[in-house]
Amino acid sequence: MNPRYQKVSNLLERFYGSLLLAYPSEFRHEYGAEMAQFFRDDCRRTACRSGLSGLLWQGLRTLADVARSAPGVHMEILRQDLRFAFRMLWNSPAFALTAILALALGIGANSAIFRLVDGIVVMPLPFPEADRLMVVWEKNPKGIDRNSVSPPNFADYRAASKSFSGIAAFYEDSANLIGSGEPEHLLSSMVSPEFFDVVGVSPAIGAGLTAEAGAPKVVLSYGLWQRRFGGDPQIIGRALRIDDKSYAVGGVMPAGFHFGSADVAVWMPMPFDPARFSRQARFLSTVARLRPGVSPAQARAELDAIAAGLAGSYPASNRGWGVTLLPLKEQVVGEIRRSLFVLLGAVGFVLLIACANVANLLLARSARRQGEIAIRTALGASGVRIVRQMLTESVLLALIGGGVGWALSWAALEMLKALAPAAVPRLDEVSVNGWAIAFTFAVALLTGVVSGLAPAWRISRPDLNAGLKEGMANRRSFGGHWLRGALIVSEVALSLLLLLGAGLLIRSFLHLQRLDPGFDPDGALTLTLDMPASRYASDVQRAAFVQHAIERVRALPGVASAGMISTLPLTGGEGFNRFGFTVEGSEDGAAGDHRFYARWISPGYLGSMAIPLIQGRDFTDRDRQGSSPAVIVDAALARRYFPNQNPVGRFLRLSYAKTAPREIIGVAGEVRLVSLDREPAPQIYVPVLQEPRIQTMSLVVRNSADAAATAETIRGELRAIDRDLPIYDVQPLAGRVAQSLAPRRFSMLLMSLLAALAMILAAVGVYGVISYMVGERLHEIGIRVALGARPVEILLLVVKQGMQHALLGIAGGLLVALLLVRVLAGLLYGVSPMDRWTFGAAAVLTAGVALMACLIPAFRAARADPIDALRFRWTPE
């Protein structure tokens, strides 16, 4: 060959040598030399035939050949590995099923919780450009930074701020829909005119709340339109009577739209001009839309300036008050975010445990396949190829597990949705999207690699001789004792962490449940009724109805006592009916920071709730309009404002009404008002017969008979007085208490489920490894027995081996827990995150479960017949 061609040819050959790297190493190992030879031959032939240009052309063609064939070769190896992996799994169904189940549980739980987190916390709210929606609160001087806004302040913010394309206000109220069938109690949202523009959602049909001549408009929720009006397309313009006022239907919102409470059924125009309202009456919620290009910080600065101006102009109402500006999403999901992230961490732990389990199974199996691997290695399979094969198997397992897990996550999510308390926001928005699928797939893939890596690493470095000899003695060096020990340790540690988390949540839940709410929730029935303004326009009419109704209910058989209150305890409503008071004849009263919750009650209410009367007397029918004004205070107020004094006989002036001072005639026991986890706040009971200004009252009936039957009789009795009386929210008092605990019950339940899952997985893991170790040592055990070891000694030997790892895991878990429990602090009540008892109980329980898992194989070992054991050439499976 021409020496010049020879040079080029050599160059090309070297180039081809590096191109070969595109092929899998195993293929290269097998065919690389021949391919190079092939190429050399080709070059030579081409050089002879077509000279330099032919050589260069040859080079290009070969480049194309590599690009075309290399992916195919990779796929081919993958295909072979997969086929082999499938065959291996098919041949050991027990192993495959166990591993797939463990992975499916781990991946499924992760997938479900991920979808919750994604749908609730990550996805934008379902409004156009939702990230520009903000909420404005007032910040009160005592550090409550999410206080409602008073209408005139809202009007001033709306007029003065330039940062927003719009600010709207709303408040939720009850509305009674009358006519065309049963009177119905609805939740309404009273909104300022710009509300729908700011939110960015228009009615699906109709123009909305546009101010035109004629009756004021209302907008219906899709649900109400469907339920009450059968989805009538001619609904627009139809006249409605709500609370005895006439309205026309102005629109129907799209299905799924809600803002604020999910149960709002009707949006109505705010029936007053915000600018002409008391500046101290703070009850509005707001939503504001940032102008494009304006940052929240700029808007906040502007609002701060406006607030400072208001404080200067209206010191009586606004001194010390500021503004809080929050993203709407923070407002909606802020509270649940922490619980969800704790859950996400917890399912992550469960997945890790599942990984460790599968890794253990694979390790044990890899030991059984030692012979096979050794033969393959001896036949020339490279370490890389074997690792690749092992990883293909574990990834295949994980992908199957992921598929099953995906199905499980559907079921789990439906269950979660059914169990979740109404307080969990955006649950209806949780659905499947590309992210959830990608997440599940990625988790499955990662799980496969992680759980396959350790066994693959172990197995790729076998001792050839030992493997081929299949000897007993060499087995132990192969199985990777320390590796499996480490897996047990981490499994035990992780499940201890979950158990600890669940334990702390359970303890705080029990603590709350045992807490005395201040009344006896058992054996009492509650319902709420509205006295429509049309028929109960005057105080006299309302007082008469209350008195009459209570008398008739009290006379029913099975009813022990009955009474009414304006707002039952534990029905939410923070800051609801909160006012100031001053103590007559005391100098410090003028400061006005004596705050209390006002509740209007009838005679018999305290008795029906079993709230003890500590001093003085209860209200009677004589505490009516015209009699001398009286109040009952609760123990919390008495303790705080009358320390070491007798409050009975003292006089109070209440800020909400300019009436004569009222005499304290009694002291009642304190009650947890807002929620069970809030300390009782000072409370004042006003006799409703004396001040019958409340339209919506709740009736409490303590009954001895069957609650459901009583409910019907009571309803009938009340309807007998007033046929059109809206009665709703009928439920046992105990139900309300349970409801107020529902969110905690939910997180406790989920955490406990996860902890149980973790425990089961860890127990299976420990059991599997210990059984395996027992199998390995059976020969040695036989010798021991033959030499006179008693069964109990054998038992202890095995248990000791297992428990060493378990105890190490428990110690490690406790250490990690000390660092991690802090994240739970916000979710706990009445329990320290470092609670000694919970730590102890979790450790003992984990040790117990590990012990059980060790005992089964230990007993088997102890019962082993020495002759069998000695004769036994251990072949697992």
């Binding site: 021949e34 391919m35 030879q37 063609r61 194309a64 050949d65 075309r68 070769v73 081919e76």
Partner: protein, 102 residues
């Protein structure tokens, strides 16, 4: 596969046979060839029949391949399938033109 039907060949030999049979139209690159060989080996259509010196180039040892029984039957089945196809095509006069020109 046809290249191996009559005798055992090594990789480069297969390439030359294919090139010869197709009149130089099909030029197998090394990657394509060995990729296919590996797949056919895995499926047991062909087998290795030892490594020995190439009689044409005495300095290199080459691996030789031959059809297995399965491979031979497969090749025969494929050939007869194609033959049937051609027969059908011919009966519909699809190949008439080529038949006369070649």
């Amino acid at each position: 596969m046809l290249a191996l039907a009559d005798e055992e060949r090594h990789g480069y030999g297969i390439k030359r046979e294919v090139e010869f049979r197709t009149g130089g139209i099909v030029k197998l690159g090394p990657g394509t060839l060995y990729g296919t060989l590996q797949k056919m080996l895995a499926d047991e259509w062909i087998e290795e029949c030892g490594e020995r010196p190439d009689p044409e180039a005495a300095d290199v040892r080459r691996r030789y391949y031959r059809l297995t029984r399965i491979g031979r039957r497969l090749a025969a089945a494929e050939a007869s399938r194609l033959e049937n196809l051609v027969r059908v095509a011919r009966s519909k006069d699809l190949l008439a033109n080529r038949g006369t020109t070649s």
